[in-house]
């Protein structure tokens, strides 16, 4: 057990990453989890594997802190919601509370119910304003477009990770997160991911 010296309240930071199967949600949670471990924190996470990965909604919970052991978070416990997809972000807002920072990627992935025409996908402005009615702590980003600037749309998750690292109060240093990302991606995609990470980081710091 890694006991840390007692300085008042134990440190704890909870991140909920939401998105769609195949978007790299799992990789993002690994990147942040590894960075947290390298920084000497305890980490407890839970992931969605199996059937939901076939284009369904996915959620990764990442709990960092001195005393964390539970892989699941309590209702509203999230300090940050990292929304890889706008409709999924709206769907999962209740994971956060009034101080939760929400980062929402604005590039949608249409569910099969929408492409088949049996349901409607809401407009971007409509989604943003519906969230703004319940919290003011939302930052939006066009992660997929930024990733395309960096070289490839698949690096959208690196953009999101960079954006997360830029948030005020985020407990992990930028370099630790960036290093952890570059450590996990294959050699030949390192440059792309580094670029995408920086674009995400800079976008949030604008």
């Amino acid at each position: 057990m890694s006991e840390r010296c007692d300085k008042g309240d134990p440190m704890k930071y909870v991140i909920q990453i939401v998105g769609v199967g195949g978007q790299g949600v799992l990789l993002a949670s690994m990147v942040l989890g590894n960075a947290a471990m390298a920084e000497g924190h305890n980490v407890a996470m839970s992931e969605v594997h199996g059937m939901a990965q076939r284009g369904g909604s996915v959620l990764s919970t990442l709990r960092i802190g001195d005393n964390v052991i539970s892989p699941l978070a309590s209702d509203g416990e999230a300090d940050m919601i990292l929304g890889f997809e706008p409709a999924e972000t709206c769907r999962n807002i209740t994971l956060g509370n009034k101080s939760t920072m929400i980062i929402m990627n604005l590039d949608p992935i249409y569910p099969s119910t929408v492409t088949a025409g049996s349901s409607e996908y809401p407009g971007t402005d409509e989604m943003i304003s519906s969230i703004k009615k319940v919290t003011k702590n939302i930052m939006t980003i066009e992660a997929t477009s930024l990733a395309e600037t960096a070289g490839k749309a698949v690096a959208a998750n690196a953009v999101m990770i960079g954006a997360a690292a830029a948030v005020k109060g985020f407990p992990l240093p930028k370099d630790a997160v960036r290093g952890s990302l570059l450590n996990l991606v294959p050699e030949k995609f390192r440059e792309l991911n580094a670029k995408a990470f920086d674009l995400g980081y800079d976008e949030m710091r604008k």
């Binding site: 690994m30 471990m37 594997h49 709206c90 919290t135």
Partner: protein, 602 residues
């Protein structure tokens, strides 16, 4: 414990378990893939050989259990793992294996799935430990899982009994920091020494072995009393008895309580439990699914003349159904101090489209479902389906599952439907499912003269659980290369007269074959053969191809979307288009388009 140079890693529960069996020196492992246990097999496929372990994907869980039993009877440490429902298949050998027991340590992992995230039910396999009279351990976290799996081998060898190792999704798919340990050097091969009394359970020996098993359970109870995995922590007049992942919720969210955390859960440490309850004002038992601990705690309290009030499922303080979460603990506020919750944000006032899991773009199942729908027309049909990606065919627009029970159940039940009704019956089975338990029902159907159509969806992999090989694909591992077993040969070999193989990407041909198969007066089998594009992508042998809609030709009839329902097809503002990121270029949509408006991009 102080070894600071030990490598620490952030491991998935299943990775920690894999690491545990490597450190325990396991020489033989077997499985049939099933979520939430599958990643263990995917790990072993890569690392078994270099750790001197033989690892097999058995055709089903029963065979996995039997082969691992044989290894352990021979003195080699063995490991068999499966999802909870797999244990139903493996229960037959397991219950008698307990009688003669093992020589080398043997651990049987059951990965339960409370809330049925990826399963057809949420059965609680702890009850198997009672039924089989086997010692059982239940970890709460990935780190504990690794430690426990290692110690399970010592327990197994001390008792000469296999140990049941029960995990749940939130342990298998949790991630936590795990420290690497030393690898135990135990022989990976042994010599089987005959012991007829123990291993040949004819009635006379079975009776002796039954007594042996009961005696060993007394010894197991002593081990449980002394086990470091059954411990108390915290202080308070309210006592909480808990096991598995529920312990992590109790530990983080309940305040001022005394906790008895149980890891060795069969047999229970009865003395420890009675001792724990003695000075408490009330007891709360927190466990997922069945009141497995609770009912025994009630009995132990009664036998120990303790009148302490015991709260749990029997008092309706806790739910029986679905997995627990910190929220479930918060609902115990009337009984104990619970950490303050955050107030969750209100749900945004916006209608969101549902996002159910769906068959992938380019999935060959889309082709066969469309073809069946065309071939069936207005006939009344019962779709007797099975377990796999194709279970997703139950959703619109295909709606092609009227019943799903279990692996192989589609073909098995089809015989019953065909005799009990006058409806036409179509059974679905996957390729891996066919080898798991689809062959025997086909034999039975032929033998009993049933008339129905069985469709075997041969996508060349065990797709749903993460693309494991199966007998129909052959296997390459540890310097061996086994040949694929052809489904068509098997079906013909059984004696089925109507057997046809067709490529579902060729939509017209598939409709034609299906029409004849349905009309056939007898047992007809159609093998639909086309590799899962995800598998090809994974193996890096997918030829990248993308299709597009020629807007000059398209008449916006939506036939492609309605027939194939591929997620890469989109209709927005009246324009039908294809998402290049998702499209696999299978051309199924193109083949149903009445205007030939869809083309492969050159």
């Amino acid at each position: 414990m102080s070894a600071n140079d030990k490598k620490k890693e952030l491991l998935l529960g299943n990775d920690a378990i894999t690491r545990g069996i490597i450190e325990a020196g396991v020489g033989f492992a077997s499985t049939y893939p099933g979520t939430p246990s599958s990643e263990i097999g995917n790990n072993l496929e890569k690392i078994a050989e270099k750790n001197g372990m033989f690892f097999e994907f058995s055709s089903n869980e029963k065979i996995a259990m039997e082969s691992a039993s044989a290894a352990a009877m021979s003195g080699v440490r063995s490991f068999v793992f499966m999802k909870h429902v797999g244990m139903n298949v493996a229960a037959d050998p397991m219950l008698t294996l307990a009688y003669g027991g093992v020589r080398g340590g043997m651990v049987i992992l059951t990965a339960d799935d409370p809330s049925a995230h990826s399963s057809q039910n949420e059965q609680d396999n702890r009850i198997y430990a009672k039924l089989a009279l086997l010692p059982m351990l239940e970890p709460s976290t990935p780190a504990e899982a690794k430690e426990m799996v290692k110690e399970s081998y010592d327990i197994s060898e001390e008792l000469t009994l296999p140990v049941l190792f029960r995990t749940t999704t939130r342990v298998n798919h949790a991630r936590g920091i795990v420290e690497e340990g030393d690898v135990k050097d135990v022989p990976k091969k042994s010599h089987f020494t005959r012991d007829i009394k123990r291993f040949v359970n004819i009635p006379a020996n079975a009776r002796t072995n039954r007594i042996r098993l009961l005696e060993l359970n007394k010894k197991a109870a002593e081990l449980s009393e002394a086990s470091r995995f059954n411990f108390t922590e915290g202080k308070g007049s309210t006592g909480v008895i808990t096991s598995g992942v529920s312990y992590t919720y109790v530990k983080e969210w309940m305040k001022n309580v005394s906790i008895l955390k149980l890891g060795f859960t069969n047999p229970l440490p009865e003395k420890k439990i009675a001792e724990f309850m003695k000075d408490k004002e009330k007891i709360i038992v927190v466990e997922e699914l069945e009141p497995f601990l609770e009912d025994q705690v009630l009995r132990i309290a009664k036998q120990s003349n303790l009148s302490v009030k015991i709260h749990g499922k029997r008092t309706d303080d806790l739910p029986m159904a679905f997995e627990y979460s910190p929220g479930v603990i918060s609902a115990l506020r009337h009984l104990a101090d619970v950490a303050d919750d955050n107030v969750p944000l209100a749900r945004p006032d916006i209608a969101l489209p549902p996002r159910p899991p769906t068959l992938c773009a380019g999935c060959p199942h889309r082709g066969i479902f469309h073809a069946v729908r065309k071939a069936v027309g207005r006939k009344e049909v019962i779709y007797s389906s099975d377990i796999g990606c194709y279970s997703l065919g139950a959703q619109p627009p295909f709606m092609m599952a009227d019943m799903i029970l279990c692996m192989g159940g589609g073909i098995g039940a089809a015989g019953g439907f065909s005799e009990a009704t006058d409806q036409k019956v179509i059974a679905f089975s996957g390729d891996s499912t066919f080898f798991h338990s689809g062959i025997t029902p086909l034999v039975s159907a032929l033998f009993n003269g049933h008339k129905f159509t069985a469709i075997i969806l041969d996508n060349r992999t065990t797709a749903m659980t993460g693309h494991q090989p199966h007998p129909g694909t052959g296997r390459e591992f540890g310097g061996r290369r086994t040949e694929e077993i052809k489904i068509e040969d098997v079906v013909r070999g059984i004696g089925v007269k109507f057997v046809e193989t067709v490529d579902p990407y060729d939509v017209k041909a598939t409709i034609d074959v299906m029409t004849r198969a349905i009309e056939y007066d007898g047992l007809s089998v159609v093998i639909v053969k086309r590799a899962c594009p995800l598998e090809l992508k994974r193996k890096k042998i997918l030829e990248p191809r993308v299709c597009e809609v020629d807007q000059d030709l398209c008449v916006k009839c939506s036939t492609c979307i309605l027939s194939i329902a591929c997620p890469a097809l989109m209709k927005k503002d009246g324009i039908v288009s294809i998402d290049k990121e998702q499209c696999m270029g299978c051309m199924m949509c193109g083949r149903v388009c009445p205007k030939d408006a869809i083309k492969v991009i050159p």
